[in-house]
């Protein structure tokens, strides 16, 4: 199934097909929810994986997000796109995951000197990539310190603007700007031969 459009997010109305699926799910049609899962899972996984940086955790969070969305589908107001709502649930789950790990090692204290793409392990993600360049990109992305990676993923995978990112991460917009700039600098250094 095709990955859903890369442009999200906020006030995007649901397509008529998606609208029908949501209504069917709200009327108890489980098969319709299966279609929604297949429609959005890849994009949601990419986003969550980018946030948490772990394949296994991303897998769990994506699964949990779909379960929770299904359980609460009755509260979903028809007419709106499903993905932003779903990704909000997933984001909260992911952020809590990050916050839990944050207790072990503060995001703020992560040192940029720890950026070493060669040491990053793609693990099972490797099977989901199409070519070597993709592997290079994901290695570099996963090797980014979490505070930079999070901002980068929200900007590039979820198309959030600076204000949205600042609200979500509760950091000033200026910090969003500087972190995103730094993330891009680090990626440019690592991927300069691909650019």
């Amino acid at each position: 199934m095709e990955e859903s459009a890369s442009k999200p997010v906020s006030d995007q109305p649901a397509s008529s097909d998606e609208q029908k699926l949501i209504e069917a799910v709200q009327n108890g049609d489980g098969r319709a929810y299966g279609k929604l899962i297949r429609l959005h899972q890849k994009r949601l996984f990419r986003f969550v994986h980018g946030l948490v940086g772990s394949f296994d955790q991303a897998e769990d969070i994506v699964q949990e997000a779909f379960v929770k969305a299904y359980q609460a589908i009755g509260t979903f107001r028809p007419g709106f796109a499903f993905y932003p709502w779903l990704s909000t649930i997933a984001r909260n789950l992911a952020y809590n995951q990050i916050a839990r790990e944050d207790k072990k090692e503060s995001l703020e204290n992560l040192q940029e000197s720890g950026f070493d793409p060669e040491s990053a392990q793609l693990g099972p993600l490797e099977k989901l990539l199409n070519d070597e360049a993709q592997g290079r990109f994901y290695k570099a992305l996963l090797a980014l310190p979490a505070k930079y990676r999070t901002v980068f993923v929200l900007r590039h995978f979820e198309d959030m603007d600076y204000n949205e990112i600042s609200i979500y991460l509760r950091i000033p917009p200026g910090t969003v700007d500087s972190r995103l700039f730094r993330a891009r600098q680090l990626l440019l250094e690592q991927l300069k031969d691909l650019i």
Binding site: Q41, L93, K192
Partner: protein
Amino acid sequence: MDHTYYKDRISAYLDGALPPYEQKAIGEHLAQCAECREILDRLRALNSLVEQKSGLGENDYWERQAQKIEQRLGIAETQVTRIQPTRTWQGVIWKLAAAAASIMIVGVIGFYSWESIRDKTERPPIEMAPAIPPTSIATPQKVEPAPENVKDERESDRAPVKESAPSESEAVTPDTQNYKRPAPTEKTLMSEFPETVSQPTIEKSSVSAKTKPLPVQSVDNLLRSDAESKTDADRGALIRGGRAGESSYQVESAASSPAIAPVPQAVRHEGEIQLLSVRPPEAVASNVAPADSLAYWLAQEKALIGSGVDAGKSISLMQELADKSRSAVTSSLAERKDTSDVPSRLLVAYYHIARLSADSSDVSRARAYLIRYSKDTSSSYQTAAKAYLDSLARK
């Protein structure tokens, strides 16, 4: 102005995230500065690379994951299909070995079969013993049929489903508007960024899917416990959609019913006693049986769910309670110590609401609820929900 000032803002300039005056200033600088233009070009190239190289490819993995989620939600049509592994030499060798073994087995069986046929044709016919009269054959003990469906139902409940029992504090059902992020002013933004962040708590429960055995109930029992019908005749009328004497609808009797919605009779908490004591005024005044009083069932629904009843709320509550029940997680929801029988009581209430109400919103809410659970293979309420829907259809 310092050159670094411009360089540091090129990234935000590219995203159009600067205030208009800065956006303009950086644009003017870029027109004059080759070094900064090169940075801008490289950032653009990076954006392009991210677009091209961040997409994840097609793989069996996605279908497996989708099926796992469906299984967990009980909405899968089929069991998780085994994805064919890619062919390897090892696999080919095993297949060849298996084929060779099959041929050998067939050969051996064929040889012995041929030998036995040849023996029969060569041997003289054996004189057959006289037939034993049927009466002399010992009648086997009558064996009580095992309640297979009951067992299956229980087993399905014990299926190794990764249960999640959301806690009270979970903010897992964000309102649809929540994801609509407003664009606040800088002033309000700054006030929203305290140093100590209190994120919504969405703890994923690590409680194992330890299943509490659920008591087996028939529709009869279920209705008896919830409607508190005074006589068997009342109960029969109830089961048959309120029309006494109609026998075409064969609801499972206590003897033959499969396992369905559990109603632990032994568990009676204060809240539930109060709940059962809810009696509509007309029932008291005109001696109408509670089972046939719409007001009674609407009051039941409200008491079980709380105010602001709607289908979505009741369904999500039902799912939550069913999850809690299955994973034997005690809940403080609605200040009850055990909510395991609430889903089944709600199921019964919705059956009667759908049966008795003339209000289309009541009926659609109740039917949506029943339909949801008639399709939930992971739920022990599925059979009950189906039976109720059948009953409504026949009515």
